[in-house]
């Protein structure tokens, strides 16, 4: 499993894993989408590019996921696969990712959780014994 759902009173979170930090971020994004809907029903029909910046790995993760939340809320775009095209972890970190998915259709796609935002609550981005972990809690 590339991510697990964190069970938190009132809300929900994701802990994602990866061989690299960028891969853990990709899995956090997919994990978040899986809270919104049943991913098996999402097809790769469109794609879009998202960019995010941050002053730390934690803020890069929050800003990246909030970019995906914003795309979902604005254009109904929901991803099935994410490709990290640029990942620059530093004090002023940056990433660019390509997201493949389609427009959410409430008639066809399952409606699970409405995510308001990714938060800094108990956030963690760290390398543990060679594996990167990214944990984030969402306001539902």
């Amino acid at each position: 499993m590339d991510f697990e759902v964190l069970d938190i009173a009132g809300d929900a979170g994701i802990r994602a894993y990866g061989k690299s930090c960028g891969e853990a971020f990709v899995n956090a994004g997919i994990g978040m989408y899986s809270l919104i809907t049943d991913m098996d029903k999402i097809r790769e029909k469109q794609d879009l590019t998202v960019e995010a910046e941050g002053d730390s790995l934690e803020s890069l993760l929050v800003n990246f996921l909030n970019e995906l939340v914003c795309q979902f809320d604005t254009n109904g775009f929901i991803g099935k696969r994410i490709r990290m095209d640029a990942f620059i972890p530093s004090r002023s970190s940056f990433l660019r990712a390509r997201v493949y998915g389609e427009e959410f259709d409430p008639e066809r796609h399952e409606r699970k959780l409405l995510i308001k935002a990714a938060t800094y609550h108990d956030i963690k981005v760290e390398e543990v014994n060679g594996t990167w972990e990214a944990a984030v809690v969402f306001d539902i």
């Binding site: 069970d7 934690e58 399952e110």
Partner: protein, 481 residues
Amino acid sequence: MAIATLKRIDENRLEVPGDYKPGMRTRGIIYVDKVLEGALEPGAIEQVADVASLPGIVGASLAMPDIHTGYGFPIGGVAAFDIKEGVISPGGVGYDINCGVRLLRSNLRRDFLFPKMKELTGLLYNEIPSGVGSKGRIRLGPADAGKVLLKGARWAVEKGYGELSDLERIESGGYLEGADPSLISKKAYDRGEAQQGTLGSGNHFLEVQYVDQIYDEAAAGALGLFEEQVTVMIHTGSRGFGHQVCTDFLEVMGKAARKYGIELPDRELACAPFHSPEAQDYFAAMKAAANYAWANRQCLMHWTREVFMSMLGLSPKDLGMSLVYDVAHNVAKIEEHQVNGQKRELIVHRKGSTRAFPPGHPELPAVYRDLGQPVLIPGDMGRASFVLVGTEKAMLETFGSTCHGAGRMLSRHQAIRQAKGRAIWREMEDRGIIVRSAGRETLAEEMPEAYKDISNVVDVVHRAGISRKVARLRPMGVIKG
């Protein structure tokens, strides 16, 4: 566990001593009795203590009996800061800016409506956009968006959604002055474009209810409530628009906190001195989101009224559906309060807390000046909701504030697990409550057992005297997102 170090002040209050955590500038006070003390989360107590460490806090860091762990600030928290030396924090308002509740009265009686509830709930479900990925029937172009942000519920009334007389029965008259649409990001505008007039999801709902018990006949009469009467409660906020404003300004305020040398125990407590440009920008943007929310609840009320009229074939006069009141329970406001005998201007943060101003308060509308401010407390979809009124004691003890709801007891996952193999909708129907929801798992997540018993929560604020019970409402039909 840390709870042992809390001190019981009286039957309804626990103190978080000022030395509970390093850096605290004042003590914390949590309004819980022995029963609810058992449900206190250690994380929530930590958050009460963290808020007590913020610059310029006045009085205690307060929490209401529906307290639970939030982001930075606890949900159910009240914190007041000096306007000159204190801060404002987006975390003290929350992501859903001006999440709130409105209550509608009617001339209908429960026994008349009861046999029609399946049809009515179905129609309301079709007419009121709700759930993940739903869009409203309003598209806010740039011109209208600006007006919504400046005028709130007044915009909706001018568009034909409701009556001018509704406005005086909304907290702050349905809009906060000083909103600045130019401070809103394009992302927030984009998220808000199709979400005006939508219910959302999670714990947001629209509920048809009836008055099943009255505790104070005179107050109920002043509110236009009587036993067996049909009411409607709407719980929603500023939708994606407000969430984006909060997200945007957490970033701005995080940088500002560093710039002004404010040490934060948690990044979600990001804040800035109230008179700094960053803080003033947030305050003006927060007001815009609050106004978006008031317009939202106004639109939803209007469509609800239309569904009732068309289905029952009643005139507006015969239906008699009008606004009792509308409260904001996630907001920050400048208010005047007496502190140690001195009049002070404070920026009061209520995050999951309802204003509860007493009779005679100048901010109350003429219709409720003698009564005190109506307080609307939603419970879970199976048990009850309550109407209370504000009191003088709330002014003295809690900056004129009280609780806002039941508070969750089970996580979503626990709730889904407990609901496995059960048909929640049928269980509710057996209790005489028709439910409809957009999400497949919503009903399991929102089942009554997932929440604390609202009666316990309301009893604490009633006994503590920070608001007074007027009436209990029971659900008949519920729409969830």
